[in-house]
Amino acid sequence: MTKESRSVGRRTMSRRRVLQGAAGGLAAASLPTLFRPAFAVPETVKIGLVGPRTGPLALFYEEMSWAIENAKKTTNNSITINGTKHPLEIVVKDSQSNPNRASEVAQELILKDKVHIVTTFATPETVNPVSDQCEINGMPCVSNDDPLESYFFGRKGDPKKPFEWTYNFFFNGAEAIGAPMSAWGRVKTNRKLGVLWANDDDGRTFARVMPPPIKKAGFTIVDPGRFDLPSSDYTPEISKFKAENVEVVFTVIPGPDFTIFWNQCAQQGYKPKIVTAGKVGEFPQGVYPYGSRAINFVCEVWWSRFHPFSSSLTGQSSRELADAYEKDAKQQASMGLGFRHSLLEVPIAALKLTQKLDDPASIRDAVRGNTFNTIVGPVDFRKGPLPNTSLTPLVAGQWRKGKKWPLELVIVDNKLAPNIPVGGEPEPMPYA
């Protein structure tokens, strides 16, 4: 991916900076170097991006490369700041799904590539170490795809003393359980909720945080306890669910484990009316393997082609963005696409509003002092709910038999964000 940067700068420092920048980055071809311009050339504006291109989190990167290309095409590799047209470069670094590596490459972006702003995404494992590194180095950082509590409290944030440089937009825990729960509640069941929360970070966090809101909504929890992953046998859990007559099932286990669970449910003749498969049910690639057995899986929806927002960068509506991706990539757009796009949308919009490009504080002020109308909804870091964060809307959807793709997501409940239109009503599992 390394491509030599060919822009030549105005200040004496610039030559060295360009050479350093060439060491690793996704540089855009900008100006021909045949002639050394006789007059000053505007400084190259650099956005640094850290994401998991390889490793277990690589699924998150699925749509990122396309989103970068799409943004480059639209901006034509340039950005106008204060009436001056600057070359724009996006420098990409791979976190290899490893928090230590993420922190290391973030440091590289700040100290070696000398980027103007850093963006990052995909779980606390990537976002938190990169944000911490930016905070230490006084570098503006915008991130998403990290739930707000994990972002703020995971970094030991203190609401009384917010972070100075780092900002994150995504959903929060209350929404994450509230949206699917609202859909569950609208299907007629006995409101007995069986949960599979494993003995891992997510499982333990869910077991600690989720029961109060679930009970408040009138569901009874049947929790077989924390079990070790990976497991080759889920029949003890299933027989417990059967014995307690559980009609709603909520799992937070990885794909292969869910496959075993769901197969054994079929073997054991266990047919819950509602299934929410966290970590699996959000992505087309996650549900395709189950075919018609995934119809009416309920999941939380962070973004879809039906969201009534459009991009401040390209002007594309949600539907147009999804169509453009599906045309190029020949695969179904997931909810990740909107967030990948907005991850570039916010920093570019902030840079455009920046007063003094060579002052990081000025870029930071542009990030935190404006509202950005993005493809995932309005982003405003002054609003919270926690400091340094902005909450994006969340709704619930179900997978239904699709026209273009084997399974397509239909929004069935919008209690938490009534401005997002529903495309159907919540239904129980069909069991053909």
Binding site: D233, P236, S239, P256, Q268
Partner: protein, 288 residues
């Protein structure tokens, strides 16, 4: 309520079939050559990845892929024993164990490099959800039943091979006394290699069933080895029918333990193993 426990008991017995498949090859190698192949679990996982490649890239049916792999597995095991392990077989049993330990590290890291850390699974199609209803809420998976039948057949076949055929008699002779067997003109080198080849065929069969039953990742070898090891020790070193019994004991312990409290699923298996080891260190059906 009774049907609940009967159901769990049955699930445990069937799980024991899978565990017995893990263990027979290890038991055979331990019984004949008197050393433990530390890389046994990793070879099972390696074979799972071979099957994964065959089924995903060539689009082969998992059964066909397994059948293709079996002769290759025999040759591989034969070659491994003849050209690598044979060099260190002898007075010092630690040397062989160290070599297989090294193989285990090489396989794990090689797989990590080649396939990444993601858990994988091979799809068994309709077979995965097919079920046999025994009434009163007792259901068993068809695939699980097939796995158990395969384990019984495998043990029976190995038993026939060892006790009813000429090659089996020779292998047993070498196993009883290497020096005496060599003295009467048996080639212990060749017979060891054949025994290892057979052990690898069982690895291939175990991989075929495991890759559909559960998920695997490069690091899952040692847990399979632990299961196989516990099963072999519980059943009695070198005893084939003992391995089947040991597998069932372990499977039932885990399944019933999980029914009490899910966090006890793995622990219950280990506790039963320790109890057996304390009360009957020679195993349930000792051969030596």
């Amino acid at each position: 309520m009774a049907s609940l426990w009967i159901n769990q008991l049955l699930q445990g017995i069937l799980l024991g079939g899978l565990y017995a498949l893990f263990a027979t090859g290890l038991s055979l190698a331990a019984g004949v050559m008197r050393f433990i192949n530390i890389a046994h679990g990793d070879f099972i996982v390696l074979t799972c990845y071979v099957l994964l490649v065959l089924t995903t890239t060539l689009g082969l049916n998992p059964v066909v892929a397994t059948l293709i792999v079996l002769p290759a597995a025999f040759l591989f095991g034969f070659g491994l024993q003849r050209f690598l392990l044979q060099r260190v077989v002898g007075e010092n049993v630690l040397l062989v164990i160290l070599v297989t330990f090294g193989l285990s590290i090489i396989i794990e890291n090689g797989l990590l490099e080649g396939f990444g850390a993601d858990p994988q699974k091979i799809s068994g199609g309709w077979l995965e959800t097919a079920t046999v209803a025994l009434g009163a809420g007792v259901n068993v998976g068809l695939f699980q039943v097939l796995t158990f039948i395969a384990a019984v057949l495998l043990v029976a076949a190995l038993d026939l091979l060892l006790y009813r055929t000429g090659i089996g008699a020779k292998i047993r002779a070498v196993s009883d006394d290497v020096a005496a067997a060599d003295l009467i003109g048996l080639s212990s080198v060749r017979l060891y290699a054949i025994a290892m080849g057979i052990s690898f065929v069982t690895i291939g069969i175990a991989a075929g069933f495991m890759s559909i039953w559960t998920n695997f990742d490069p690091a899952s070898g040692p847990t399979r080895l632990l299961i196989a090891f516990e099963v072999v020790v519980m059943g009695g070193l070198g005893s084939l029918w003992g391995s089947l019994a040991g597998g069932i004991v372990l499977g039932v312990a885990q399944s019933i333990g999980g029914q009490f409290d899910i966090a006890w699923q793995t622990m219950a298996g280990h506790i039963v193993f320790l109890i057996v080891l304390a009360l009957r260190p020679q195993g349930l059906f000792p051969k030596y």
